[in-house]
Amino acid sequence: MAGMQPKSQGERGLWWLLAIPFAGLLFPGLYAHAEPSLFGLPFFYWYQFAWLLISAALTAIVYLRAR
């Protein structure tokens, strides 16, 4: 179909990695809890900070593999 760049099957699968942070963050019921806390930070906060790192890492992986 016009509009897509030619990509191998594997490369297209790789791009789905970028959807994972959305699944992790768009359902606050999953993480709106106080426990377990880490260094005094309630779960709600350190969970989201952790996703910050995971999301950046996934983006970097897709960038490096799709190059």
Partner: protein, 512 residues
Amino acid sequence: MKLDLVSLLVFLGFFALVTVLGFYAGQWRRGDLAQLHEWGLGGRRFGVIVSWFLIGGDLYTAYTLIAVPALVFGAGAAGFFAVPYTILAYPIMFVVMPRLWNVSKVHNFVTPADFVRGRYGSDRLALAIALTGILATMPYIALQLVGIQVVIGAMGVTGSGLASDLPLVIAFIILAAYTYTSGLRAPAMIAFVKDLMIYVAILAAIIIIPTKLGGFGPVFAAATAHFANKVPPVGATILGPKGYWSYATLALGSAMALFLYPHAITAVLSAARVDVVKRNAALLPAYSLLLGLVALLGYVAIAAGVPVSAPSQVVPALFKAFFPSWFVGFAFAAIAIGALVPAAVMSIAAANLWTRSVYVAYLKPSASDAEESSMAKLSSLVVKFGALAFIIWVPTQYAINLQLLGGIWILQTFPAIVVGLYRRWFHDAALLWGWAAGMLAGTLLSFSQGVKPTFAFSAGTHVIAPYIGLLALAVNLAVAAALTPVFDRAGIARQADLTSEADYADVRAAPA
């Protein structure tokens, strides 16, 4: 409030430094500033590091650094949605922005409205996109001034009547002058200084202040107790089930909107290579970490019990309570300079939109490159002084409300820009009607809630309150999708597409 002379001197010293940098920037990676892409996009020459500082300095504004902790201070966990928002914006940037960069490079598009005009051949649709961008950007510029006002006030610089606004006016005249002469090179160069200062100030605050309070455990215990004792109950340190919908939809909608803002696109298009855009999508979340830490300062302020007259005073009050005068001056300078970078990029972006989509498209189609560039320079001045007049004479709450509406409005350009980058399925006239319907629906829904970002309705037993921007976008897409076959069947001709599929693809560079 007593005037703090040491703070003020340090503050003025840094302000003078960036002023010199701003004027010198015109000489940096020299180009012909009589060309719009040289003045307004820095000649598309910025590499990974410069772009990282420029985009980061542009998106994480002084207003953000003041408003996010203020929101957490007042409402608790709900204010933390800025963090998932600024995490999710980057996967979107990584997927979408390279296509926009590629096609803009091939056709010398300077704004998103330029792209829409090239893609759909419609001046009217481009005008709608341009006006939405200008409308969404103006109050944002005005709010940067609030950031400067807050720190100037906190240093004890006061006056009455017009004299009270004098420091702000001087700061803005300087900003306007070097933006006029140096274009996008000025905020790009200043962003280095600004962001390094912001990182130092915030890291110092987030390490030193909680340590003095006994760590984050006691900070959260104090904040939790504070919210529990509020009458009537407002906020909590852990998001309650009633807030789930708002939290998730505000994060998603804001993330989708971020790279539709003209100033974000200006910064992205100034990248030298498509690779620069992609790498920055992985590197920019470092700023989101900073934003998350700043947000926590809202709780720190509660735990420390610093005297705060208004929520916007949270960050300045914390610095004054815990740091020596010279460091307070340093941190305040970081915030004030932090206002200048986005204000400069925003005014350049708005000026580019005006010049290309209104002036050249409708008023003077025969304009030469030099005339185009000088019109942009001139209109950047008009935009800035318009924002200045707004903040001096109109209550700040109006600017805040307009900025909130701006987020809803800018999201209505999503079908034309983002969908348009992939498919040309929509008819341009249908996109225009969809846009109008989305703008109207978003504005009315927000006003019906007293100018709020979310719309509450009952779903069975419980109330959900999704982000209005997304609701309006659904209306927008539905109208555009319904009218496209209608216009096509009625034989209303589509204009030619100036772009071709190959223009969107990455040019595979030889391995370095």
